[in-house]
Amino acid sequence: MSDLKPALEALIFISVEPLTMDKIREVLPERSEEEISAALEELASEFESGPRAIRLTQTGGGWVFSTKPDYDAPVRKLLQIERRKKLSPAALETLSVVAYHQPATAPEVMSIRGVDSTTALHTLLENKLVKISGRRDAPGRPLLYRTTEKFLAYFGLNSLDDLPQEEELRKILEAGNA
């Protein structure tokens, strides 16, 4: 059937949260996952290359429409938002450590960064970019931190695998050492 793409477009349009494959399959049980994936990819590339201000991306485990960066200014004006707050370098470093070493304790973050990271962790907790996922079974039972779904959404990542992997990191390191 050729009406799969427009159907998907309608479903994503009406969804406020990123639309997951599970949800799509629920609504369209007669379609295979491969079929849906292929249609979504096609739809996304149509939006991306077409004369549209909207793009279709995979973020936080689902599909979602967003505006293209070129239309930031008018949208901001409409919403009456001056500037978005940015994370501090300390918060970004702490997030990087937690993302790669999760679940991580505060002392672990501190030993990698070389500086006390308690304040940064608190900022991240407040912004719900990390969460406490339990305690480590070690002396002092230190709290364990993990990144959240909001962390993925905030950076437009679909999953943690979208972060640079070991091989890519090594390449960048070697290039820097040359």
């Binding site: 979602v64 960066p69 919403l79 640079p164 990191l169």
Partner: protein, 273 residues
């Protein structure tokens, strides 16, 4: 330390802006050959400063000229006439480590170092790990910048009320935050005469469990608000924390900034007589 610096190693490369507000005297004397000095506050920590120096000297992270780098590093610390221990203890710790490594090379030994033991190795590994962190945070910074220009509908419309709400178990911080917000509100209320009633933790806990069994669900703040005195509210708050810790009740928030609700856990309900 300045005597170890080889002038031929000074190089022109893009660096953070010069520091015109350099304090005169000892600070300037520590770095006479440099036309600039980046402030210590510019760095995220001792590892960041070390990486900067290593890059500036264009040396290999695994083959650091310890004397040169230690000299440069100490030059930075000397720019401070006094060290704020809260903020700069980590910088001092690293200075001690660098001097220790340097001493490993300088001091005579009874047995020579084994060829494959390099006193710098652990530091090199830490620097390497920290460089990864820097790479990833630079990537996150780019993504953040990109995302800050991208807008989704979710930002405009509140999620539609659904029957099956996605409940999030709240953390201790959320509870404490709500509690303190309420206490602040209470403070504004006119003072009441204290009745001098004694409330025991155990009694209050029974009272809460009984109320939960009768009503099924409690609004966390309303319940505390309904307490007659500050003391009673405090006791009730501790009881709730105690019950949550004992996993007898569960505290959930339907949406961010919405009311926190408290339930008995299912198991507790079942075993209730």
């Amino acid at each position: 330390m300045t005597e170890v610096r080889d002038p031929s190693q000074e190089e022109d490369q893009p660096v953070p802006p010069p520091e015109p507000a350099e304090p005169a005297g000892a600070a300037a004397a520590a770095e006479p050959a440099e036309g600039y000095q980046v402030k210590l506050e510019f760095f995220e920590g001792p590892l960041d400063l070390l990486l900067f120096l290593i890059k500036k000297k264009k040396v290999d992270i695994h083959d650091i000229p310890v004397a040169v780098i230690t000299g440069e590093y100490l030059g930075y610390l000397r720019t401070r006439d006094r060290i704020n221990l809260d903020r700069e203890a980590e910088f001092l710790l690293m200075a001690a480590l660098l001097i220790y490594i340097k001493s490993q090379f300088l001091l005579p030994r009874e047995q020579p170092l084994e060829p494959d033991v390099d006193p710098r190795r652990e530091l090199a590994e830490r620097l390497e790990d920290y460089r990864r962190v820097k790479i990833v945070s630079a990537r996150l910074r780019d993504l953040e910048e990109e995302q800050s220009q991208v807008w989704r509908r979710a930002a405009l419309t509140a999620p539609l009320p659904e029957e099956d709400l996605d409940l999030v178990e709240v953390s201790l911080f959320d509870l404490a935050e709500s509690f303190f917000a309420m206490m602040k509100r209470k403070q504004a209320e006119p003072p009441k005469v204290l009745k001098g009633k004694e409330i025991s933790l155990a009694e209050k806990m029974d009272e809460i469990v009984a109320a939960l069994k009768a009503r099924g669900v409690l609004d966390f703040l309303d319940y505390l608000d309904a307490q007659e005195t500050l003391e009673e509210a405090l006791v009730a708050f501790f009881c709730l924390l105690e019950l949550i810790k004992a996993r007898l009740v569960i505290a959930v928030q339907e949406q961010l900034f919405h009311a926190i609700k408290v339930w008995l856990r299912k198991e507790t309900k079942d075993e209730a007589p």
